[in-house]
Amino acid sequence: MRLPRVFDRRRRRYEKLVTEHLDGVLDAAGEARLQQLLDSDEALAVEARELDAVTALLRAEPLVEPPRSFALPYAPARVPAPPHRGPLRWMQAATATAALVLVTLIGVDLVVTPAAVSEAPESSTATAEQAPAASQAAPPPDAPAIDSAFADGAGQDKVQPFPLTRSLAPEPEPAPAAGRSALDWAQLGFALATAALALGVALVSWRAARSRA
């Protein structure tokens, strides 16, 4: 059973080749492939001959003579040419690039910043957990008084251990600000550039539409 044409690659190849052959734009290799197809399938060969006859009939048709001349009796008002699309295309490309960079930077920020944030609690927890050990190893001058207060069970409802340990722990080092700051500045810069370019594209497009109207 013959496959439907849509799925018949051989058929589609034949249609392309025979059309180009009829229009005189088929190269030598294509002509050879077409000939091979026609030699192997008589039905295709007949169809190609019929299409050739139809095309010849069409091309023999003379143009219909216009009923009158369409020469303009007067010069109508001219429409100024729209601005060349070269700059507009360049600006559109630049806008797209800037927007892409901006999105990439935001993506990097989203990936990097949570990591930095997730590291910070760990380090502060670790510092807090290490604090008692640190206080044992090298107790600060006022530590014994507090430890003794817990030791005798007094004042447990007044003094919360966590704030105490936090207050005893050395302050966690702030996350390195330089990297984030540079990322922030880059994001801001590209956001401004994208906005400016998009505004420029809108202005140029508006001018072009206005001149066309």
């Binding site: 249609e15 734009v25 139809v54 143009l63 219909v64 001349s69 020469a71 303009l72 040419a81």
Partner: protein
């Protein structure tokens, strides 16, 4: 006859276009004289009404003059035919503005050959040619719009694939496939004519393969 290629722009065309861009109406009308037959034929094929085609062609040339500064080189022929095709599309979208002298009026009325017929005295051969011509154009009119447009552009107007793609506003591959389908359908529609002229062997069952 292979498709004529106008990949290298005609020097006269470019010179006339340049002068027209400077406001020279005579130069523009030289362009009109050169391309009005092609323009009218394209509009006629798209609109299938001589009156509507006349209106669309005139409108297209007015539009071409108004926008002549937009022409930036290349094929003037395809630039003009693109404007004609746009004007014809506009006319098709606004049927109330169209005058309704259809092509059928020519065949039903006193003019048996329609606009395709040779005027004046008709010897037998001319009458036969006129009848063939009428059948060819009747068959063209029975094609779907998209196929009729590309067949007209390539086979009647002689545009190459690039130009036809520009005018029809479709990719070249689409031009090629529409050409094949249009020609195949025409082969079926014109089988009696082709058999009569001896271009095709007579089929007893008339069973041409159907297209799409």
């Amino acid at each position: 006859m292979p498709v004529t290629s106008q990949s290298t722009p005609d020097r006269d065309d470019l010179e006339w276009a340049r002068r027209a861009q400077e406001g020279d109406l005579v130069a523009f009308n030289a362009i009109v004289e050169r391309y009005q037959a092609r323009a009218y034929n394209l509009a006629l094929r798209m609109l299938r009404s001589p009156a509507a085609a006349e209106d669309a062609t005139q409108e297209a040339f007015f539009s071409a003059y108004r926008h002549i500064d937009s022409f930036r080189g290349g094929s003037l022929r395809s630039w003009i035919l693109t404007i004609v095709a746009n004007a014809a599309r506009d006319a098709l979208r606004a049927p109330s503005r169209r005058r309704t002298t259809s092509l059928e009026a020519y065949t039903e009325g006193g003019d048996p050959g329609g606009p395709w017929a040779d005027p004046g005295p008709q010897p037998e051969e001319q009458a036969l040619r006129a009848e063939t011509s009428r059948q060819v154009h009747d068959a063209l009119d029975r094609l779907p719009d998209d196929q009729r447009l590309v067949v007209t552009l390539v086979d009647l107007e002689g545009l190459d694939y690039d130009e036809a793609a520009q005018v029809a506003r479709v990719p070249i591959g689409t031009v090629r496939s529409r050409l094949f389908r249009g020609r195949s359908r025409l082969r079926d529609l014109l089988r009696p004519v082709l058999e009569l002229s001896g271009d095709l062997p007579r089929q007893s069952n008339g069973g041409a393969q159907g297209e799409d």
